[in-house]
Amino acid sequence: MVRRFVPFVAALCVAACARAPAPVHFFAEGQPRSLADWHVVEVRDGRLAPNAGVLPYDLNTPLFTDYAHKLRTVWMPEGQAARYRADEEFEFPVGTILSKTFYYPRGEGDTVLRSADAGFDARGLELSKVRLIETRLLVRREDGWIALPYVWNAQQTEATLMRGGELVPLTLVAADGSREQADYAVPDQNQCAGCHGNDMKTRALHPLGPKARHLNRDFAYADGNANQVARWAQAGYLADAPAPASAPRNADWQDATQPLDARARAYLDINCGHCHNPKGPGNTSGLWLDAATREPLRLGRCKLPIAAGKGTGDFRHDIVPGRPDASILAYRMVSEDPSAMMPELGRSVVHDEGVQLIRDWIAAMQGGCDTGASTVADAPSARVASK
């Protein structure tokens, strides 16, 4: 087996090989207290960077997490590769370690910037310019995936296992100088399953990002741009992969040159589809927003809410074609009330740009959901009485 990433490792070494870093360590059991024990991402020379053999990656359209930027990495033991699957996450071998570091560019004082993720700089994250929040690991063991949330200390020297999660208050400053408070939630270990336990029957955890349709895009590697699916295959991390042109590909939600429907569906797929699919925790609603769903009613078109509670925002249908202001889907995205907002986890502020995309998508739909008939629900007194 050819050792991977020689060019990439070489590039890192120019900057950081003053002392030889310890290799990545896969713990087959237990829950190491410190992120450093894994040697997946390393603090070195004022930067946080992937260790040798650890490959950074990005997604066509990512999950929104309170405007956090994300450094994602994958590592597999020597000689091991994931098996390609077109629709589900790749079949990863035991020993795989996925990491995701959540961070923000620093603003003035204690603030952080509310900005679009510019993508990964191959030299790593410059610690003086970013605030690290947490690094989550998904580790593939014999008996399945385990999720481990590590929270960074204020000095950004160490991230410590925080199984119970916590709330991190943040002040987000936008480009126009406006400020917004966020209660960034580090999930507790059970809540990891709220998204990654996307099959309620098996209750097994699954990675969500590393699927062909999310990964099928170019990445700025240290040795130049390359398609990620191709690079994973080339690096020996992915077996049986087709040429990138033959693999599914989600739209980049921010790329205005791509069709609106494809961008909206990509956004819904990664932000909602892990729960709202036929097997996921959101299947109780009958609303499915994963990439595979095609039936308009299932996607929310003129669909009645089931157990939305006040998440309806006083609206009747998940999506009313042409009317984002009357659509529950858009309402739940602009709510910051934990009992009404969607997603339920991982967001405390509104993703304005994502909301705009979904509003545009609904606005462009033709038709309507006029219920026509006079109904008990239309009776005014029921509403008056509650005020």
Partner: protein
């Protein structure tokens, strides 16, 4: 639209004159519980993470506060408090999480404990089997408000569920809500000041008995909604006390229960095979018993999942003790209908039927009513224009449904 506004003013005037909202019952104070040991909250979260099958996690007396939701994913765990007025999990000021406690685990028991003031649902049990909820109080302590969480006790997609000796107060949707489940017993519990007291939705095989539902908007609801994993049926509602469910509907519009008129006793909506017997049902101002279709909640056939049956069929009502009620229905249409048929001081009879039927079904809807003061078919399909008081179509017999046996010994 302008005419709606007028109707609204008129309805308000009628309400003020006739409805007597001023004398509406108010909910009683929540028991005083001192703050619990501050260290317990973090310990409890860790115990939920580390639980092993067979574990009993004890919650000591005191009000234990959480700013994020809790969850459990290990089978065979019991969470046990010292009593619903002693051990309290309080989510007042909660900042994250759509429920108080979320469970995705089989063989779960929650007992002798209270869950208060969660932002969203109190207890949600999603996709699990063999669930026991015993002597649990779920309450929003500020009384009925639209800002309260939706469901109190909320098993969904579950199988073999026992809810007993529990209390749900103040839910902005349903106090006790069992959805998309199979083999369910809800008994000897109390639901007060919720929009729906007890709601059985898209659930197959449920016995609801020995409960008290009072001061809700609707007392006990048996509902079927379209586009879900299964349609419900075979539900028995018996031996309950369903009285004075006259609290104004404070549910968010668009939810299925927001269409429930204040003053509804037992409501069957689009469900088949429901048996309602031996209940005490009284003083529900719209009607003591309502049989309706999801068409009355704003549903249109052309938007529905094609396999869904929106019509209530084989509804068996007999041997209940019914009194009062029907004297001040909620909603302009119903109020106008009542006045037109029975006069300003008159009342609807015990049973109100919205009149949606599957015309292709030659034996009719088989809504069989005995021991009731009468029935009115409101002619919902005809815009309430040709209501009918003829009780003869409802003189039929249906076989009795079997009791639910949870086989718990």
């Amino acid at each position: 639209m302008a005419s709606m506004k007028h109707a609204s003013v008129l309805a308000l005037a009628v309400l003020a004159a006739a409805c007597g909202r001023g004398e509406q019952a108010s909910h009683t104070a929540t028991p005083e519980v001192a703050a619990g040991d501050a260290a317990f909250a973090a310990q409890f979260r860790e115990k939920l993470l580390d639980a092993k099958p067979g574990d009993v996690i004890e919650v000591p007396p005191g009000r234990h506060s959480f700013d994020r939701s809790l969850s459990l994913r290990v089978d065979g765990v019991t969470i046990r408090g010292a009593g619903p007025d002693k051990s309290v999990l309080s989510f007042k000021g909660q900042k994250a999480g759509a429920e108080g406690l979320l469970v995705n685990a089989n063989g779960f028991t929650l007992e002798n404990i209270a869950i208060e003031d969660s932002k969203g649902d109190g207890l949600k049990v999603n996709e699990a089997e063999n669930i026991t909820i015993r002597n649990v109080r779920v309450e929003w302590t500020g009384g009925p408000k639209t800002s309260n969480g939706a469901y109190g006790l909320y098993p969904v997609k579950t199988r073999n569920v026992l809810i007993e000796d529990s209390v749900a107060i103040g839910a902005s949707d349903a106090g006790i809500y069992v959805g998309q489940s199979r083999d369910v017993v809800v008994r000897n519990s109390r639901a007060e000041f919720n929009v729906a007291g007890i709601e059985i939705e898209n659930t197959v095989n449920a016995d609801v008995y020995g409960n008290t539902a009072t001061n809700n908007t609707g007392g006990i609801l048996v509902f079927n909604m379209p586009a879900l994993s299964q349609q419900g049926g075979a539900v028995r509602v018996f031996g309950n006390k369903v009285t004075k469910n006259n609290t104004g509907n404070f549910g968010a519009k668009g939810t299925p229960v927001s269409s429930v008129p204040a003053g509804s006793g037992v409501v069957v909506n689009s469900n088949d095979d429901v048996e309602i017997f031996d209940n005490d049902i009284a003083d529900n101002k719209t009607a003591n018993i309502i049989v309706s279709s999801v068409y009355s909640t704003g549903y249109k056939a052309d938007k529905a999942a094609s396999e869904f049956d929106p019509y209530p069929e084989r509804i068996n009502v007999y041997g209940n003790r019914l009194s009062g009620g029907g004297d001040s229905p909620d909603g302009f249409d119903l109020k106008a209908l009542k006045t037109a048929l029975y006069g300003l001081n008159g009342s609807f009879p015990d049973v109100l039927f919205d009149g949606y039927v599957n015309k292709a079904r030659k034996q009719g809807p088989q809504i069989c009513l005995r021991d009731v003061s009468g029935v009115v078919n409101a002619d919902g399909p005809g815009g309430y224009k040709n209501p009918a008081k003829d009780a003869r179509p409802y003189a039929c017999e249906l076989p009795k449904l079997p009791a639910i046996d949870l086989k718990r010994g």
